[in-house]
Amino acid sequence: MLQRIFSTLFFLFTYSLAHSQTSIELPSANKVILTVTGNIKHTNQQGTLQLSITQLKALPQKTINTTTYWTDGLIEFKGPLLRDVIALAEGTGRSIKAIASNEYLIEIPFVDIETYNVILALEQDGEALTMRTKGPIWIIYPWSDHKVLEKPKYYARSIWQLEALDISE
């Protein structure tokens, strides 16, 4: 039930965004850091939405202070909410396939992004993430805020060196 309400709200939200925003500019090829594909309405390149870091940073930025399974101590991550990015693409569906540079692939259910503030972290402790520091995009769950997230399932979804999102039914 809750899920349905969220879906509806999400839909309304994305719908309003779609009609309020103008079409997104296609960044130059070397500037593209994220490609959104699949069941989306907002595209800028052959059925895909190509986004630059500037465009991602243009979205509302969310800061999450959390520990992770792979790092030491509390770290401040910053970046746009994943749901905002999906909304930007007017993506609808049940799960998001996330693909990393190292060819790692994981599915993130919509529930996750509707329930938690999952972000596409672009910065770590105020520094931009690079390839060598699991960047430029690292999906971060707010583990410190929600202890239930401290499970292998969510660890696996915390994909780093993210390159593409494929939204499917």
Partner: protein, 706 residues
């Protein structure tokens, strides 16, 4: 009970549904739990990390080979750089976090790895151009890293760990599937049960109503059954009651019959049954040409015994006499008691008159033998009158009367004998009945009057008083002797009226008498025992004295010995009261009864009147002379006065005087006189009638007591 059974299917199905639902709920919960089950991060994290490391290492190695091979591949350097950066990212943070610590703990030399990566970085990316030497070194490093990684990941422990994880995951998968199937089964079961219930609901309802109906009808049947049972029981009870009531009715009837037909005291027949039996006997006699004898029997001296020994002894006597009678009688004979000491007997089926005689004689003999009653010996006898059917009459009433007449005659003839009815008796009996009627009338019409026989002090010939004697002058019968009518009056109960009249009249007369030299004259009145037994004589005397104004000291009440012998407390109390008033008590006809000295002391007697039979024999029977002397001396010793009755001659008078008895009454001094004559004699002081015509001078001696 049946209702419960009929509900069971419902209960069962609903509980089944409930169980199903519970099963579904619990398995859903279980499923939730199981779906969340994961191989712990500690175990899986390391494996995944290291696998990824190897992959990245291999890809980097390939990219390196492509980028730095003699044949340049476009974008190969770019690709290598990317992969190298990726590898760097992994190795650089290999010690960090939880996964880092488990990697270190697993013995991987992270520091060496890091150093290798940095060396590659230095060898390839510091200079503008990369020397062949450097490339070779990097190649060697990659070869080493590759083989080390391969060695590590091929180690049994790592493979085992990986396998375990895969196993665990598979298990979890299986669990999930199983639970899913369980849920599915439960849901299916639930649906089936639900469906079945729905389907069977009608059937169940039908069955339920059917069972209910059966139960109801069974119950009704049982109820009606028990009703029937109780009705039967009731019926039985009523029947029993009826029977018992019939029995008690029968008993009551028998009792009533008995009471109606038998005398309660003697168990002999009563008048009722007697008449019945007679009618039967007479019919038989008519038929058989035989006769029936009807006996009327009266016990002689019974009244006397009853009076002297008491009623209870009298009753005992009657019972014993009845037993004796029955002993003598034959089977067909009937003995009845008509009350008091009157018995009637039917001798049925008599062929010869002689046999009547035989039975009668036997009865007389039996009754004449002594009776021993509560320690007292009593001697009685019987007088029997006999009447014969059909000779003397046709009906029982007549025959009874005739037998009664005959009995009366027998009694008159000296008791202890029997008489057959004769025509003459009829006449006598008629006369007696006439007399009885006349006596009733006499009481009503007051045909009685009193005579007064002077009682004289022989010493000085002075009159001391008089005895009042009743006389009856009947218009047709003439003068009737008291000896004749007093017993009759006692018999029929008229004595109470007569006695009261005598007392009243005597006192009223005596009051008018003037005192002479002896002072006031005494008046002696006879009171019958009957009066004492039936009324309160003391009360009567008190009343009469008050009415007449006669002083109690002037009155002498004459009673008979038999009254005292009855030893009745009631009589005793009356006598004491009478004496207490100052009235004197004299025993009349002393010496004729059961003379007992004890009652002379016991009762407040003042005077003895010696019976005239003793006086008559003075100087002819020496025994009587002695007896008179004895009586006189006894009276003197007991301080009682003695009066001699029936003194007729000078010799008798002299004898008595000689023996200290000087109060006398008799023809020698005066016959009974009328009131008028008596007053005349008092006034003239002479006796007219006596042959020697004694003067009655004023005697010197005074005797206050009679």
């Amino acid at each position: 009970m049946n209702k419960k059974i009929s509900k069971t299917p419902y209960l069962l199905s609903f509980s089944l549904l409930l169980i199903m639902a519970l099963g579904i709920i619990t398995s859903v919960m279980l499923f939730n739990r199981i779906s969340n089950l994961e191989v712990s991060a500690d175990k899986s994290g390391l494996v995944y990390y290291m696998r990824q490391y190897q992959y990245e290492l291999s890809r980097t190695n390939i990219a390196f080979l492509a980028a730095y091979s003699p044949v340049k591949i476009t974008k190969s350097v770019q690709s290598f750089t990317k992969w190298f950066d990726i590898l760097w990212g992994r190795v650089d943070q290999m010690e960090a976090g939880k996964v880092g610590s488990s990697i270190v703990a697993d013995g991987i030399k992270v520091k060496v790895l890091k150093t290798d990566i940095r060396r590659i970085d230095n060898l390839l990316f510091t200079g503008k151009t990369v020397s062949h030497e450097n490339i070779n070194q990097v190649h060697d490093i990659f070869q080493r890293l590759m083989s080390e990684a391969h060695r590590y990941q091929s180690s049994t422990s790592f493979v085992d760990r990986e396998m375990a994880i895969i196993h665990q995951m598979k298990f979890y998968e299986t669990y999930r599937h199983s639970v899913f199937y369980i849920i599915a089964t439960f849901i299916l079961g639930f649906l089936m049960v639900f469906f079945l219930i729905r389907k069977n609901k009608k059937l169940l309802n039908l069955r339920w109503t059917l069972e209910e109906r059966v139960y109801k009808s069974t119950k009704e049947m049982r109820d009606s059954n028990s009703e029937l049972k109780s009705a039967i029981e009731k019926h039985k009870a009523t029947e029993l009651e009826l029977i018992s009531s019939q029995l008690s009715d029968e008993r009551a009837r028998q009792k009533i019959h008995y009471q109606a037909n038998f005398d309660s005291l003697t168990k002999l027949a009563n008048r009722n049954l007697f008449f019945e039996r007679f009618s039967e006997a007479s019919k038989r006699a008519q038929h058989n040409d035989t006769v029936v004898a009807l006996l009327f029997l009266d016990l002689d001296r019974f009244k006397y015994i009853n009076d002297t020994l008491g009623h209870s002894i009298g009753d005992e006597l009657l019972q014993e006499a009845s037993r004796r009678l029955l002993h003598v009688l034959r089977e067909n004979d009937t003995a009845a008691r008509f009350g008091g000491d009157e018995f009637a007997i039917i001798l049925a089926d008599v062929n010869e008159l002689k046999s009547i005689d035989l039975i009668v004689q036997r009865i007389l003999k039996m009754l004449a033998s002594p009776f021993r009653l509560s320690g007292n010996d009593a001697f009685i006898s019987a007088s029997i009158g006999v009447a014969i059917y059909p000779e003397d009459g046709n009906n029982c009433e007549t025959l009874l009367r005739k037998a009664d007449d005959a009995m009366y005659k027998a009694k008159k003839l000296g008791k202890n004998n029997s008489q057959y009815f004769t025509k003459e008796m009829d006449v006598e009996a008629n006369q007696r009945r006439e007399l009885e009627k006349a006596l009733y009338r006499a009481v009503e019409d007051n045909e009685f009057y009193l005579n007064f026989q002077p009682i004289v002090n022989a010493k000085d010939q002075s009159i001391m008083g008089a005895e009042a004697l009743i006389r009856w002058n009947h218009s047709k019968l003439g003068t009737v002797s008291p000896a004749e009518f007093i017993p009759l009056a006692e018999e029929v109960g008229l004595i109470l009226d007569i006695g009261e009249w005598v007392l009243r009249q005597a006192c009223l007369t005596a009051v008018t008498w003037q005192p002479n030299l002896n002072g006031l004259l005494n008046i002696a009145v006879n009171i019958s025992s009957r009066q004492f037994q039936s009324t309160d004589v003391a009360l009567l005397i008190e009343d009469v004295l008050q009415e007449s104004g006669l002083t109690a000291q002037r009155l002498v009440i004459e009673i008979t010995e038999s009254l005292l012998m009855a030893d009745d407390e009631k009589v005793m109390n009356q006598l004491n009261t009478i004496r207490g008033m100052g009235v004197s008590l004299a025993i009349d006809d002393f010496g004729t009864g059961y003379s007992s000295l004890s009652y002379l002391k016991k009762f407040p007697i003042t005077t003895l009147k010696i019976d005239q039979s003793f006086i008559k024999d003075i100087n002819t029977d020496s025994n009587d002379d002695e007896l008179i002397k004895g009586i006189i001396s006894l009276a003197n010793s007991l301080n009682l006065n003695v009066v001699a009755e029936g003194v007729e001659t000078k010799e008798q008078s002299s004898f008595l005087l000689e023996n200290n008895c000087f109060i006398m009454q008799g023809y020698y001094y005066s016959k009974p006189l009328s009131d008028k004559k008596f007053i005349e004699v008092l006034n003239n002081k002479v006796f007219h009638n006596a042959q020697n015509l004694h003067l009655l001078p004023a005697g010197a001696g005074t005797l206050n007591v009679v």
